[in-house]
Point group: C2
Chain length 115, copies 2
């Protein structure tokens, strides 16, 4: 099905060391026929965060709702709705929600072979 | 600058045959260091539409605001906020705004060499 509402897409806990109170949905991935990049939607609950980590692929992010913070390398930036983030490959990064409402963002990544 | 608000990013008219009343912003592209895919934001004004066309690369779309219609091949689908679209490579498609308020969506495409 080439068109879906997010309410039709299953949500899973981000089950990675260093992640707390994060849920994610795979909105577009190889199961829909995407060969080059995948679109995910993250919900970071109040107090939650993604892992502080790096990997050889980039992120492109768009903030849909709420407020949060992104660390990229040694810098931190405050984020709000309609902000765009580019995280270069190989750069340490983390998204955090220090606020009291959900912080929701899209995260697009290249489809890479598992290492 | 790896973090920007959309208000800091210039908007341009979609200047392609068959497009009417569409403005677009390049949110992430190769000028920011992206090598694999680019993120654009389209504002389709009431009555506006993108061209009915096809190309050898896919689209991944996320609807941010408003309502509209997407044609994919011979099918049409109604769209609203928080809907996701995957348009396979080589498939004819068009976004239209038959409503009376702006229809706003993200469109992610692979970065391809001009043909």
């Amino acid at each position: 099905m080439p068109v879906r509402h997010i309410s039709e897409i299953k949500s899973e806990k981000m089950n990675v060391s260093g992640a707390e109170n994060v849920e994610l949905q795979w909105l577009v991935d190889s199961s829909m026929g995407a060969e080059n990049f995948a679109m995910r939607r993250f919900v970071i609950r109040p107090g939650g965060h993604t892992p502080l980590h790096s990997h050889p692929w980039e992120h492109e992010n768009y903030v849909l709702e709420g407020e949060g913070v992104v660390r990229i390398g040694s810098e931190e930036y405050e984020l709000e709705r309609d902000m765009v983030v580019f995280i270069p490959p190989g750069t340490e990064h983390q998204f955090r929600n220090p606020g009291n409402r959900d912080f929701i963002l899209l995260c697009i990544i290249p489809i890479v072979e598992p290492e």
